[in-house]
Subunit: 404 residues, 3 copies
Amino acid sequence: ANWLMLQGTEPADNAPRAKVWGFIQPMYSKDFSDAFAGKYVPPKLIGPSLDSQSSFNILRARIGVRGTGFPLDSHINYFLLTEFGNNAITNGGKYGSYKPYLTDASITLNYIKGARVRLGLFKYPGAEEGLQGIAAFPYIGYTSVTNQMLLERFPTNGETNIAPQTVPNADMNAFSAPVGAFRDVGAQVFDAFDVGNWEHTYAVMLGNGHGVQMSDNNSSKDLYLYWSSAYLFDKSAKGPFRPSLKMFTWYQKGKRTDAYDNTKEQDRKRYGVGVSYLKKPFRVSAEYMWGQGMIFQGQQNPQRMFNNNKAAGGYIEGGYFIPNTKFELDLRYDTYKRNKGIMKGPTPEAKFNTWTAGVNYHFNKKTRFTLDYSIRKYSSVFTPVNNQLKDVKGLLALQVTAVF
Amino acid sequence: ANWLMLQGTEPADNAPRAKVWGFIQPMYSKDFSDAFAGKYVPPKLIGPSLDSQSSFNILRARIGVRGTGFPLDSHINYFLLTEFGNNAITNGGKYGSYKPYLTDASITLNYIKGARVRLGLFKYPGAEEGLQGIAAFPYIGYTSVTNQMLLERFPTNGETNIAPQTVPNADMNAFSAPVGAFRDVGAQVFDAFDVGNWEHTYAVMLGNGHGVQMSDNNSSKDLYLYWSSAYLFDKSAKGPFRPSLKMFTWYQKGKRTDAYDNTKEQDRKRYGVGVSYLKKPFRVSAEYMWGQGMIFQGQQNPQRMFNNNKAAGGYIEGGYFIPNTKFELDLRYDTYKRNKGIMKGPTPEAKFNTWTAGVNYHFNKKTRFTLDYSIRKYSSVFTPVNNQLKDVKGLLALQVTAVF
Amino acid sequence: ANWLMLQGTEPADNAPRAKVWGFIQPMYSKDFSDAFAGKYVPPKLIGPSLDSQSSFNILRARIGVRGTGFPLDSHINYFLLTEFGNNAITNGGKYGSYKPYLTDASITLNYIKGARVRLGLFKYPGAEEGLQGIAAFPYIGYTSVTNQMLLERFPTNGETNIAPQTVPNADMNAFSAPVGAFRDVGAQVFDAFDVGNWEHTYAVMLGNGHGVQMSDNNSSKDLYLYWSSAYLFDKSAKGPFRPSLKMFTWYQKGKRTDAYDNTKEQDRKRYGVGVSYLKKPFRVSAEYMWGQGMIFQGQQNPQRMFNNNKAAGGYIEGGYFIPNTKFELDLRYDTYKRNKGIMKGPTPEAKFNTWTAGVNYHFNKKTRFTLDYSIRKYSSVFTPVNNQLKDVKGLLALQVTAVF
């Protein structure tokens, strides 16, 4: 699927003035991890508030409007989406931080051939897992590399680190600001070109580098670059399930002002490369990503975010749509190494390997049930950190997704 | 009216993909209570912020979407509703705690005959006053037993009790988290069965027991049971004003983690029985309810919530729709006794008796004006508390309700 | 344009049950002011968080519903609008204070000839710059007199003054509550009368005097009075761009409870007179306003709001729609003098003069691009304040407005 085009533009011929749409994702999670020395850390607890090992939740409840505003003019379209669910966008995690949030508010100007311009708040051109529409995301949780390295956290002055807690019911999340949500506010130039059965897509964007928090807190801006080339098995097909083989690469660079000392800034860099194949009944995708600076050290450690550490990780996953049934089977392996080469101290090297097996049952084109079970092998080169990580165990998640 | 069916399902034949709907309730309140020894307590002030004896307000401003998502499949429907008004859901009461909130986000699967499954955030099966649609609720304020015993409050660590204040303009509300709003996040199995002119309805639900705060803060879940049997005077009638005689009973049980010491948990139990008769021009309804544990001690006393006290109360009310006019006359008596049998100390026995006389003027099927005047007789067996409660006097409220 | 009628009523013949509408305003701002002695103050920084000299932003992202609810009855209409953008309504400015907000929730009863009644939260009848629809406002920023004297700020107990900061990246905004947004909750009686080619409009309103914070924090209510007389060049024309010459005057009076000592109240008074001419290709408008009490002293000084100082200011501006093009040229001069006659101390007299040159490019009837550049000459009679104000320089702003 070409997410830049699907999310940033409308069909030229028949877009509505204002289509109300959205989706709901009720879910249930259970974490089977054990305490170490009677204490718990965030990966053993259910987010965003990290104060229980089992919980129902409304992971997402999105309501939006999209269309062309003035239907006589197909040169301009807009996309507006709000989030009322309970996740790391609406709820930094610290008690009392829930509030609905704007996730997307963009206007696209389609005047210049080969250079569409998208302005506002929207998903920046980047890694497939963040860029794809949630309604088409076959798993419930993100991979470790996406969750930790790409889903940016923003500490606020006054937030302090939290030690491991003796009961799972204690709030272990120190953050109150929303995560970046793979989004930024800025201006993007992009377009897609057909060359035979190939579709090439590029995007260049400048943004605040401040996630969904709409205004910037420094004057430097983030730069985003993106390229993809997709071989289309069926040129007439459209939408998120269009059969294709897509290769892509992306790059992102910016600066972050230190929340605890606003005279300092820290560089942040991320880049990656990936491939995705979809032709029913099969789907296979894989991606590898690298990062330096602003490496996340867990929801309990906001004061350790302003580092210049290195990290890298990736995943390979596949799906099988059992013919003549509503079932889809999914399997994913992901790996992430953070703080590469640091052997001790407050931010030691740690490794996160996860196998996730899943089933999707598609009631209809707009509604599906998902069951995921993850086996997690976490470790660190530094014993005090490793003691907690080694007891991170299985995670069960059930979810229904209904799109309207 | 059968609220479980009206709110949880859609007509099988003609539900829309996405119907935008909602309602607005502007209002004005004036409290005629006197200060005692120059000081004020919460029942003498206007909520949610409890810092004035007269105020205009937007009690509710709800916008939602409901339908079947994929109109070709009537097996699945959804219900989404957001609240932007200023009440105890959006505004715990403490200054600065207002924020819009999600009140409902559910998906209903209608596949198994006799066992519909509703998932997500929605009204739990319980007492009539909480379960009924607000647009059909003939009064402006809740009864004391509903407001105090059923409308659950959630203290947050750090919130402290507030002493009586010398001016009405001082903020007397210590809570910042939203009330439970008669809702929970979880899974409900339910259905309705017709036997001649009788309609029997059951519901069993498991939920977080954490109100509209979507994720749980402990691993124990709340259990809800519900049964109703209604005699239908007109089997072809539908909607909230269907003529019927309905008897119902409900039960709810769970645990709450102590906000001030998260190693402790407190049991919470509620149950009740009631009857409602509606056949224009008359309406009569009555209900009695019992509770133990987590008995609310006023908006100024969050630190006294984690108790194992007992309480009980009920109401009887009726309405008369004056034939050939747009007027409806209403009268309600309600009573509530909290902390039964406790003669002194921080949570002494107190009694709350209220007569409410009201008028509804129905401009049209979607819009009405309501005037309510309440006479309140409050008392306590413990003199320091009784001194304040005995001066609680009349309360006037005016409201317009517009549904769209 | 007659904003009271356009916003408060619907056409009697063909209003929808529920029209979903709104607008999006992505923007970019750059402030060219210099530090004084290495330090910054709010007018040199980009709002609402005042922690940068350049930023992309979503200035407004509004979603609403309006119509008649029950389409068979044109006597009643409603207007509901929510704000998800990042401005002084949703974000007082202090870190972490962003939350979506309800800006309008009103019901209009059109039963009494000559006396329509509007109830709820809506724009009070007042100055043209605040009352007009944002979609028709030709500039990006408000004039100084409107921003400082009319756009009311509400300090909260605990908020303290902030000294000038050594880096632009430090948060300079001490307020967390939403601004008044030219709105109030209350009841308004109003109507418009045609006499030949003249249209006379009056409004009388009582409100909380607490802006968009829906409940009042004291028992005194604000009084609003409004009168306008417009000569219509084309009686059949409708909407915000109806050709007319309009003269208007307004008055507003109320009391504010001191946030830092809630036993005290401060009077607040505002009044003004203005004229607006619109007949394409020309537009000219001018207004002058006076105020006493609650004179705003900057986002860094919440503790200085409860004063009885005097202020006054106004603007004259014009627009030229270049015939046969999509371009509109705009020029505005505005002036504001606050704390008149106070020669030193914490709230000394200060003067704010601004020239703003702008261009609007109208892509279509619903979408336009705006470029504004402002030259600001600020000064104070008191040297310590003047030192900072004299270095306030140019401000560049770019914006796209898309209405749907």
